[in-house]
Each structure stands twice: as structure tokens, then as C-alpha cells.
């Protein structure tokens, strides 16, 4: 039987930011599938134009509350690159620890608050909190722990206070770090429970080969350090990154789409896992062995489990970072000064994937131009293409099933729509 469906999901819920999904099916064939991004653009390039380099991270962090530490770190790296500043090992470790905490909190928020209701058949996390506290407990505790780490390091979980170009304004106390370490060690049991919960749900096996891009450092899994790496082309010079992508405007989105010479590519937890899984911590590697997929994995729905594996890795790695900080001692890190000016590039792995910032700073220390390439915007093309691949297979199903599949796919990507509309690629004149 051929069915007509015109499905419009207005203001898709349980994602970060505002988006619509439009699916038009006539006589059993898919006529049109769009992920409309209707988030208001915020024009950050205008906001930071003429601002001093010391303020830029403060402003640019406000692109996105959920990955504010990632934006801050990418910005600081770019500014430091532009000004020829070097940071100490200690400052680098503290930033890495911030990113671990942010990614754990972001992944857990996504898994427990946004995705879990789909699996449990509830409209939100609130009934689960009331009726299924033991299911929710590991999620709430891990999120609480991640936010606690951010608060110890940076005063609050959103918009870090102490990270500045060339240094760190606040050092945690030794006892605070020891407490963080103890709580991270105890988190292993919680992470097992997270794995059991999410490992147990079945998702569509829909699969589509594509290019994966993520950072790859000389050693380690890499969130703060590394050079962009493609599973097809290998390493990409960071200065070349922006040129390798083609960004283009589509009529139904306030966020731009992007592609490489190979077409669609994917960034984020699953891309990182595919590129760097040999560098996981021992426990995370054991989880990966138990996963219902093997590497390379091209099943977009598995991004959820990739996030769990990353949480395990990051919690274990964070313990190592704390140990190294404790060994080193906790001296104040007053900001260092720049030696030059010009253009700089900074990249980190944000929770949702590779994040690129570049700035040109003039000889008065003021920002002249900026360019940010944001993970979700890089994934939008991939999401739409997957929707086109997924929906025909769902067609015998009822409208509800199609809606569920479509929403589930978009959510699995963990799109951060508020972020993605803040692409900037202007050279000011």
C-alpha cells in the first residue's frame, strides 16, 4: 500500500535550539526531506569586531551555553596562535580537564534528558525522574559530578570564568582536586550502569559510509590537542582546514551546510571513536568490545553509544590529568604576553565534534576578523542525507513510526542548533 505522508515536526523538542523537520511522501516515494534550522542568527562576527583580544573568549563563549568551555578553548588557542603566546603545561592540563568535564556533562545531558525519553516512551525526563529514580540515578550523579568539576575549576558549569589567553586566573586547591579524583574513581560503577541502560535499547541498523573528521593528537585520544584527521585523507593542516571545506547557504536554514571534496562528512563522538578508538583508556576499550558494532561503524544511531564510551574514557583520563596536576603542584599561572599579532587558528573537539576558530588581531590587540566552523553545521548535510536514506525503509510503517524514526535519528546526532547558526566566515574590510 502506498501512503501519502506530509510530516512537519515544528520546533523539534529535546534538542538544543530551534529546528523543524519536514518530510513529504507521495505515493510511497520520498519527495522532500528537510531539516529546517529556524534558530535566530546571532551575528557574533559583528559582536566581537573591534573588541580587545582579552575579551573575545568571554563574548564568543556565549555562542553556546552547552559547549561554552569548548568555544572558550578554541578561541584561546586561536588568539594565542595569533599573538605568539605559549601556555604552560599546567594551563594546558587544566583546559583539558575542563573539556573532559564539559563533554561528560553534555553527553549525559543528551543521553538522559533528550534521548532516554524516546526509549522509555515518555514525553520528557520529568516522569522518569519521578517514577524511575534508579534508572535516572547514574545520569544525574554523573552530570552533577561533571558540573562540580567545572565549578571547581571555573566558578560555574556554564561560561568558564578563569580561562584567559596565556594563562589561568584560578587554581583549584589540592584538596579539591583530590576530592574530584575520588569521585571520578567512584564513577566507574555509575558508568557501567549507563552502559547497561543504553546498550540494551535496540535502534535501527541503518548504515551509510561516509568521511569522518576529528582531531588526532600525536598521542592520546585528543579533545584539546591534535591535528584534524580524515579517515579518507589522513592529516589535514589546521591552517588549511577552512579551505578544505565548502560552506554553502541553503534556503531552509539559518545555519550553513558544509561538505568536503568527498561530499558528506560526519563529526562528533562517532567520528572520533572511528578515528581514534585505539587510543581509548583500558576500561573504555572494554566497553567498546562489548558494543553491538565493530569499528569502523557507519550506523548514525550508534552515536549514542559512542557517547557513553567517550564518557568512560574521559572519566578515566580525567583521573590521569588530576594526578599529573597534583604531581606538578598548583602554582598560579598569570597570563603571559603576546609577542606578535596577525591571524591565528585554534581547534578543539567540542562534545559534538571538531570546532574551528580563527581570528585576525591587529597591532592594537583588537579583533579585525573572525571565522568559526561549528560541529552541528558540519553535520547538517550528513543528517539530511541520512534522513533521505532512512525514511524509505520506514515507509511501510505508520506515520507515528516514521516520526519516531526521523526524530530519533536527528536526536542521535545530538545537534546543537543554537550553536550552528553562529557560523561566521567574514573577512571584514
Amino acid at each position: 500500500m502506498h501512503k501519502d505522508h506530509h510530516i512537519e515536526i515544528r520546533e523539534l523538542t529535546r534538542v538544543e535550539g530551534h529546528g523543524n523537520i519536514v518530510v513529504d511522501i507521495r505515493k510511497g516515494t520520498v519527495r522532500e526531506i528537510r531539516l529546517e534550522i529556524i534558530e535566530s542568527p546571532r551575528f557574533f562576527e559583528a559582536l566581537i569586531k573591534g573588541r580587545h583580544y582579552q575579551e573575545v573568549a568571554h563574548i564568543i563563549s556565549r555562542i553556546c551555553g552547552i559547549c561554552s568551555a569548548s568555544h572558550t578553548c578554541a578561541c584561546l588557542k586561536a588568539v594565542e596562535d595569533a599573538l605568539g603566546m605559549r601556555i604552560s603545561r599546567r594551563t594546558g592540563l587544566l583546559r583539558e580537564l575542563c573539556l573532559c568535564a564539559e563533554t561528560i556533562q553534555s553527553h549525559i545531558l543528551h543521553l538522559y534528558f533528550l534521548v532516554l525519553p524516546d526509549f522509555m516512551g515518555t514525553h520528557s525526563v520529568l516522569p522518569l525522574l519521578k517514577e524511575n529514580p534508579s534508572l535516572m540515578e547514574p545520569g544525574l550523579k554523573l552530570k552533577g559530578l561533571a558540573n562540580h568539576i567545572s565549578t571547581i575549576l571555573n566558578g560555574r558549569p556554564v561560561h568558564p570564568i578563569s580561562l584567559v589567553p596565556g594563562g589561568t586566573l584560578h587554581m583549584p586547591e589540592k584538596c579539591e582536586l583530590i576530592e574530584i579524583k575520588e569521585r571520578l574513581e567512584e564513577a566507574t560503577e555509575l558508568l557501567h550502569r549507563v552502559w547497561e541502560t543504553f546498550r540494551g535499547f535496540s535502534t535501527p541498523g541503518f548504515e551509510k559510509a561516509r568521511e569522518f573528521i576529528s582531531l588526532k593528537p600525536s598521542s592520546g585520544y585528543g579533545m584539546y590537542d591534535g591535528t584534524p584527521f580524515s579517515n579518507i585523507d589522513g592529516f589535514i593542516e589546521k591552517e588549511d582546514y577552512a579551505h578544505r571545506l565548502e560552506e554553502y547557504v541553503v534556503p531552509h536554514s539559518t545555519a550553513k551546510h558544509a561538505k568536503t571534496g568527498h561530499g558528506t562528512y560526519m563529526v562528533g563522538a562517532l567520528a572520533r571513536l572511528n578515528n581514534n578508538h585505539r587510543r581509548l583508556t583500558p576500561l573504555a576499550r572494554r566497553f567498546l568490545k562489548d558494543a553491538p558494532f565493530s569499528m569502523p561503524c557507519h550506523i548514525p544511531f550508534m552515536n549514542n553509544l559512542a557517547q557513553v564510551i567517550e564518557c568512560v574514557h574521559l572519566a578515566e583520563y580525567a583521573i590521569e590529568l588530576v594526578d599529573r596536576l597534583l604531581d606538578m603542584g598548583l602554582k598560579k599561572e598569570p597570563p603571559r604576553w603576546g609577542t606578535t599579532w596577525g591571524r591565528g587558528v585554534g581547534m578543539v573537539e567540542a562534545p559534538r565534534g571538531i570546532l574551528y576558530h580563527s581570528y585576525t588581531v591587529n597591532n592594537e590587540g583588537l579583533v579585525e576578523s573572525a571565522n568559526c566552523i561549528i560541529p552541528t553545521a558540519q553535520n547538517l548535510r550528513s543528517i539530511e542525507e541520512d534522513l533521505r536514506g532512512l525514511v524509505p525503509g520506514l515507509l511501510p510503517c505508520s506515520r507515528e513510526e516514521v516520526v519516531k524514526g526521523v526524530e530519533g535519528l536527528v536526536r542521535a546526532y545530538d545537534p546543537c542548533i543554537s550553536c550552528s547558526t553562529h557560523i561566521m566566515d567574514v573577512e571584514f574590510v
Binding site: 530551534h18 533528550l114 544525574l140
Partner: protein, 260 residues
């Protein structure tokens, strides 16, 4: 404010980074308790429910498009109590920095001279919510503090009108035992900024950037002078005030008041 036994509350987000909503979701410990005291009937980021029978609406984000202004008017008709959540909705926040340029110019910056869908990218100067509709209470901050948000919810549940501190950040900064950054020759917006955040930025080694907005009776002229005495040029001083209060500065030509 009327006491409501189990208020139905809604969260709406306009142009923002969603960081303030995230601070709400960060109340892990309190979420369970909260869900027994209030009914959340509309919170796009957290739930599929989209009910319109809310009594209290929290609004995050600035108004930067005509549709957002329309949406606000609708919300005002439905809600008994409207509370702004964060700097974006309370003072225009960081978003208002774009008001230095024309909407056409900022659009062109991002999408080029011929955006493929003009409707989608159309924007107006960023405004706080109170420019469009009447606001009952305001929670400032970029982001809001979790404690302050929970305090507001508690007041709601008890039927007590919530209030904001009428003293500057400096008062709390001293109580926290910080050394004033002015003593180190660094300029700070604490003296003119509304307290209530326990001067968290100074405690964590930075300065007060002014995210909670200017005090109603802030002596901005005196503060301009102080900043000038600490070596900031006119342009730098304006930028300091601009960061979080540019909406009011832009409109009035000078920075005197936070409310209309």
C-alpha cells in the same frame, strides 16, 4: 502576585545561547523535588509537551526578530506572571552588541549580499523582553545563578514576590574576602553592577564584567571617571559599559537606568 498551589510553568527561549536553560537543567539534585511542586508544561529543550495553559512563563533570550515579538505578546496574554531568565532577556545582554550596526549590515556579514531566504535571516536590533511586553520579575546574569533561580521558584511556590539585591557586586565581593582588582590597577564593573552573584568572577580571578546589568541608581558618570583614572580611554570605557548594557546606552545615548 497570586499564590497558586501547583503552578504550571513554561520555559521559552528566544535568541540566546540557551545557557540559562542549561543552568535550570543543572539543578540535578533539586529537579526531583521541583517536579513535585510545579508542573512544567512547556520546555522545548526538555519535553515534547507543548501546552498553553501555563500560569508562569520564564523567558530566556533577547528579541531579535519580529516573530519573537509576536510570540511574546501571545505568551503575555496567557501567562499571569512573566519572569525573564538571564541577561539576554533582562537587558538585551551580549546580543545587543550587534545594535552598533544596521540589521542589513550584520545579515550581509554572515549570509552575503543575496541570502537565499531573506525571511529566515531577517532580524531587528536586539531588545530585552520588557521592550515588547510587560515583565513582572527579572532574573539577571549571564548565565543566571542556580541559587537565584531556585530562590525565585521557591518564592513562586510560596506566593511571595521575589526581589533582587539593590546593592553593587562590590558588597558581596568584599564579603567573599577578595582583594579589589582596582588595587592591582585592573578596572572592574562591580561598583555599578547589581549584586546577587557573590562576585563569582572576581573570586575566580577575573573582574566583574557587569553581566547582571546596571543598578537602578548606578552613578555611571562617576564610574566612567574612575575607569578613566585607571587608564582606560573613552572608547574602552564605552566598550566596558556596552558589553552587557549596550541596549540602554544605545537607546538613551548614555547609560543611566536599567529599566524603563
Amino acid at each position: 502576585m497570586r499564590w497558586i498551589k501547583r503552578p504550571r510553568i513554561a520555559f521559552f527561549s528566544l535568541t540566546s545561547c540557551e545557557g540559562c536553560q542549561l543552568m535550570v537543567l543543572n539543578c540535578e539534585e533539586e529537579l526531583r523535588e521541583l517536579s513535585t511542586r510545579v508542573d512544567v508544561v512547556n520546555f522545548r529543550e526538555a519535553t515534547d509537551l507543548k501546552r498553553d495553559d501555563y500560569q508562569v512563563a520564564f523567558i530566556e533570550g533577547s528579541v531579535t526578530r519580529e516573530e519573537e515579538a509576536e510570540k511574546l505578546k501571545e505568551i503575555r496574554q496567557r501567562a499571569e506572571t512573566i519572569i525573564t531568565l538571564g541577561a539576554c532577556s533582562t537587558t538585551g545582554g551580549i546580543n545587543a552588541l550587534k545594535n552598533r550596526f544596521s540589521p542589513e549590515y550584520v545579515t550581509e556579514c554572515v549570509y552575503g549580499r543575496n541570502p537565499p531566504n531573506r525571511l529566515l535571516v531577517e532580524n531587528i536590533p536586539a531588545m530585552p523582553v520588557e521592550e515588547v511586553i510587560e515583565v513582572d520579575y527579572r532574573i539577571p546574569g549571564c548565565p543566571v545563578s542556580k541559587e537565584e533561580f531556585l530562590g525565585f521558584v521557591k518564592a513562586l511556590v510560596l506566593g511571595i514576590p521575589p526581589g533582587l539585591p539593590e546593592y553593587p557586586v562590590c558588597n558581596e565581593c568584599k564579603m567573599e574576602g577578595n582583594i579589589c582588582v582596582f588595587e592591582k590597577g585592573v578596572a572592574c564593573m562591580g561598583p555599578v553592577t547589581r549584586g546577587g552573584c557573590r562576585a563569582v568572577c572576581v573570586s575566580f580571578g577575573s573582574i566583574c564584567w557587569g553581566c547582571r546589568g546596571l543598578l537602578d541608581d548606578a552613578n555611571t558618570d562617576a564610574h566612567r571617571e574612575t575607569l578613566g583614572n585607571h587608564g582606560l580611554g573613552d572608547d574602552e570605557i564605552t566598550k566596558r559599559f556596552d558589553l552587557y548594557s549596550s541596549f540602554y546606552i544605545h537607546r538613551k545615548g548614555r547609560c543611566t537606568k536599567t529599566t524603563t
